[in-house]
Point group: C3
Chain length 468, copies 3
């Protein structure tokens, strides 16, 4: 039995499965558009071999190590670096064995689908990983990684990636993007503008970051107008490296539309370090609207990724730092939160604001009605914890009837796990075909329409929404 | 291929589909009870021909024009009137073409189901609407509308409507209802009592409205007891035109049960225009309980439709006014909100309070447990954005296990789109039969029981709950 | 046609149904672990015959009588005792007839599944209960109840119960548990520690309860350290009667982690009766963390059952008292609420905290991400209103992808309705097999893995999580 079931994620009943297969057959080979993600541009710049299997699949993947941790495996034993630089496991094989002997924990999870997809399609491994074959897997993958066809650029081509966007901070010099460009390689790797460190008064080093923003742009960034100009200049710079979007990951979806004087006063207060928590939140909200206004000018797409309580565990944060699987979703309001921004620019022709959510209760209640009305608003795909078969299914079931398909933007993989990218797109394509097949078989859509929609969901909508 | 699939909305697997068909066959022809809606009584009074196809299907339907608007079609080009009386498209054919060339936007939406149902069953059109056949559709529908069998009363009969309720404000003179009655026509068109303009201190012209209420009833309506009496008199008047229900669409589900003295003081403050937002909300909440108490006396059903953030876009509101597709659902609490009313009258024999929701997260958590306990409380059907196949399915899945079927009240179409009424009831009947079929095939219900429940959901429960 | 469909709750399509059957066949006969419930230990101590059918199935079951009440049947007519001792129906047959003639109200509810299961498997009744056969049912069940094989201990064995946990208050003398033990009977009936009356400053008689806690333990329980010691001593005492868990049912999931001095001051304030509502909530929250710390020492599992608005109807509470079907779920936050406890002990090896929810919107958004990260946290099964086929299905769909199967703890029946216990476990086993079958047929899980998971969900995980 092959590791991957050819009909995986399709409906089980005969007619729907047959229709899903027909739809999928026409889109499975479409190029991958990855308009929002977190791969490391250095990979494509240097094109160095990936390190050992554990460094590829376990140690950097918070989906994987948090699941092992939740069942009592210490992060140190998985090689996750400590803040204090103290010792952690460095033997890739030992990490891999621990991973393999706990592989049953991933049953029913999307990580399991992604991992098996990579094992099978990238490395030709056709057994289920287990304690028994851990060493064989390790040796085989390690041997592959030494070969030129497993280098980042070769995999980029093999995966059929048409374009991939990485995400860089506003102060980043984009050196790796420059190196990619100067190398003459024809892979299309673009950046995205992520200004957290200079728009969030609660970000570590906010004031210094704003000063650095000024230095980089020649603007007096501690003055409100200078600060806005500096953003425009950096956005230009990012666009020079292919950026078509900015990205914003605040704790809430709050936006504001203050007068220029009030915004300037709030900015000044932020620079003095005197903002209350609420004022800091208001400033972040104001900057979303400012960014949207800049988008009206420069055509960049604005992405809002709200609603995560970051670094929930004080203990894990202290010992291992940020982004260690302890970002927990919270309830998120969009109706009141987005109103200031939408009142300001929601009708602007040419503007695209893409909203994501970790709070699925907002799909049918808030997000689909908003996206089904405001011309500037589109719905990002099922995100993060919901980037999964059930999550995608709920997304389509709860957004389509009010927002339709054409107020959504296709799939984003949003990952730093490079090898999971084809797997994630494949899951999305299969689930969308499955969903469309149930509409066809339930008499809600003609099959000929479904072929068109399937193609739009897999390719066309992302191309259009992200101006790729 | 006909435009409508005969098995649409039924389960795909063979046994469930066969059972759904069997159930549906016994209820598809039942008369339509439409106990809550917004059709225009003038149609039935004057029985004039409907204007052109665009005025019938596009310009007045906020489901339709907001979807087009969300994809960049200006409302002016769809003929939606401007507040300032400025020019908008008046050529029905031009509007229709724009609609037809964007018809793909409705894929997967209930609007598509309703429109196709009307095209096929009312007009005999069996192609999918598109840019290519837009003119043919337009010409055919326009020609039909000139015929006597397409007049409102003829369609009313053709649709098999046993009774339809419209909704009028408390100050309405019900002239069209009077005209229907005096015409001798035997179609049953009743009104419903909607007192927003005289119970909401924040409604435009509240004080004048209350004064007018006094004039209409001969009561001193600016005195608390006179005000309550005036409501009773108007409710009597409405019952004289068939009303069996009142309807209340506040932003929240808040109710209050103040002492008479406190209520009178709050009312006086409202008349002085001195209520805070919270006090205005409290007054609306108090009036829900007052209306429920009147219902105990006069037998009218109380309907609560909360949770919509009305006219969300400041720009659309300014340019095009109310009800232009920008009413966005918000989170709604029922547990604390309904307690004062339920403590006051929740055990009254003969009282029926019907609660609706736009916040589906309340179905299983709050509404089914409340309706499954309080004798006076029933659950309204899946509403508005959730008046759709997936919405109805979620409604049954999330309410049945705790509230059963018999604490629900059958289907309401809640529409002003007359031609969508048979389609909407047909969708509800199909989805309910599909749901029942899955219970039968899953061994949770006997087939003979399912026939009985199907009939109750399509007809019996509405007849009973709304005293029709 | 038998009353129970052999394939009930399995998927309808052929391949999934066949797989579900195969899985179920291997686990249907596994012993029942009932680690959290509310059966009366006196039953097993005295082993007396159950009274008449109405007293067995109707009068004590709030699922049953609240549904009848919701449709207008007075609780008095169902024999539910009044607080004032006034007259209620005492004729079991009259109550039973009323129940039987309203049996259609339970269509589509889990109560119907449980009742039919007991009628069929315990009493051999194979007709659907109705007004027509009410007396025949009554006579047959009443006759059975007189037989020795229908006594509690005989049913315990017949049901295949390996261990059952009851729940007793902290001040309970556990006399029935003592009597069970001293009887020499080999059925395993254990207690669980439920300290509401001595940890909740708003509980009736809180101060006297704390004083009694001191008397029982020889500690000065009005002193903070003495109070904590007294809890430890009572926990020891409960462990002496098999307890492996404590249970906490607060209105919210709030936890606190105060300094010892602040906790002591808050406790003193509670004893003086001076806590505000918020301070009382904080104290309950602090006690959750204290209990968790004791669990680290003594190995008892901590169960959190939050989010019920208890005794919602003032009228029913006044007339019939607590627990009469008017406990209504409310929105519950876990992310902020559990952080203090998790920061304090969330990484402790050997600690198990089991969180339940009545707010399903928290499954995918909050609970699965938390349980999929913190080693100490596990998810309790679908609870109360969600202890039902659809509820269990939503639970697996919304928790598995992020938390996996192994951060859940198998099934709890959580009931005082002894005869429903085998039915409830059977429902859970069937639904889990159905869910696993869809994963297998959808290519997400190997069938051989599914056999292993099915066994873990039915038996292994509960055994492990509750240390049984």
């Amino acid at each position: 039995m092959p590791l991957l079931n050819a009909d995986r994620l399709f409906p089980v009943d005969g007619p729907s499965r047959a229709t899903a297969r027909d739809l999928y057959e026409t889109i499975r080979g479409l190029p991958i558009l990855s308009p929002h993600g977190h791969t490391d541009p250095r990979w494509f710049a240097e094109d160095a071999a990936f390190p050992d299997p554990a460094q590829l699949f376990v140690t950097p993947d918070h989906y994987v190590f948090r699941m092992l941790f939740s069942q009592g495996v210490p992060l140190e034993r998985l090689g996750v670096p400590r803040v204090d630089g103290g010792p952690v496991e460095s033997d890739g094989r030992a990490i891999w064995r621990l991973f393999a002997q706990n592989y049953h924990l991933f049953r029913g999870t999307p990580s399991r689908l992604w991992l098996d997809h990579a094992f099978s399609t990238v490395f030709g491994l056709e057994e289920r990983l287990s304690a028994g074959n851990a060493d064989a897997f390790y040796d085989h993958i390690a041997a592959c990684l030494k070969l030129p066809e497993y280098r980042p650029r070769a995999l980029f081509k093999r995966f059929g990636i048409e374009v991939i966007a990485t995400t860089e901070g506003a102060l980043d010099d984009l050196r790796w993007h420059r190196m990619v460009r100067e190398s003459g390689w024809d892979g299309r790797v673009v950046t995205a503008y992520r200004p957290d460190s200079v728009v969030d008064p609660e970000f570590e080093g906010f004031v210094q970051n704003v000063e650095k923003l000024g230095e980089l742009t020649g603007e007096n960034a501690t003055d409100w107008q200078g600060y806005l100009n500096a953003h425009k200049i950096r956005r230009d710079y990012f666009r020079g490296f292919g950026a078509t979007s900015s990205d914003h990951g605040h704790a809430t979806a709050r936006t504001e539309n203050l007068t220029s004087a009030d915004a300037a006063a709030l900015f000044a207060k932020a620079l003095r370090g005197q903002c209350s928590a609420d004022e800091a939140d208001a400033f972040r909200g104001q900057m979303l609207t400012e960014m949207a206004k800049m988008s009206v000018e420069d055509g960049m797409v604005l992405q809002i990724h709200p609603g995560s309580y970051r670094n929930h565990s004080a203990g894990v944060m202290a010992k291992f730092g940020r982004d260690k699987g302890f970002d927990i979703p919270t309830r998120t309001d969009y109706v009141r939160a987005l109103k200031p921004l939408l009142d300001a620019v929601g009708m602007e022709p040419g503007l695209t604001v893409i909203a994501f959510t970790l709070d699925e209760s907002a799909y049918a209640r808030e997000l689909a009605p908003l996206a089904g009305a405001y011309p500037a608003l589109r719905l990002g795909p099922a995100w993060w914890f919901h980037d999964s078969p059930e999550g995608m299914w709920r997304y389509r079931q709860m957004t389509t009837e009010t927002a339709g398909f054409y107020n959504t933007v296709g799939f984003n993989d949003d990952t730093r796990a490079f090898l999971s990218i084809p797997a994630r797109h494949d899951v999305a394509r299969r689930v969308d075909c499955a969903f469309l097949a149930t509409l066809v078989e339930g008499g809600r859509l003609d099959k000929e329409e479904a072929f068109e929609v399937a193609r739009d969901l897999a390719y066309g909508l992302a191309k259009q929404a992200y101006r790729l």
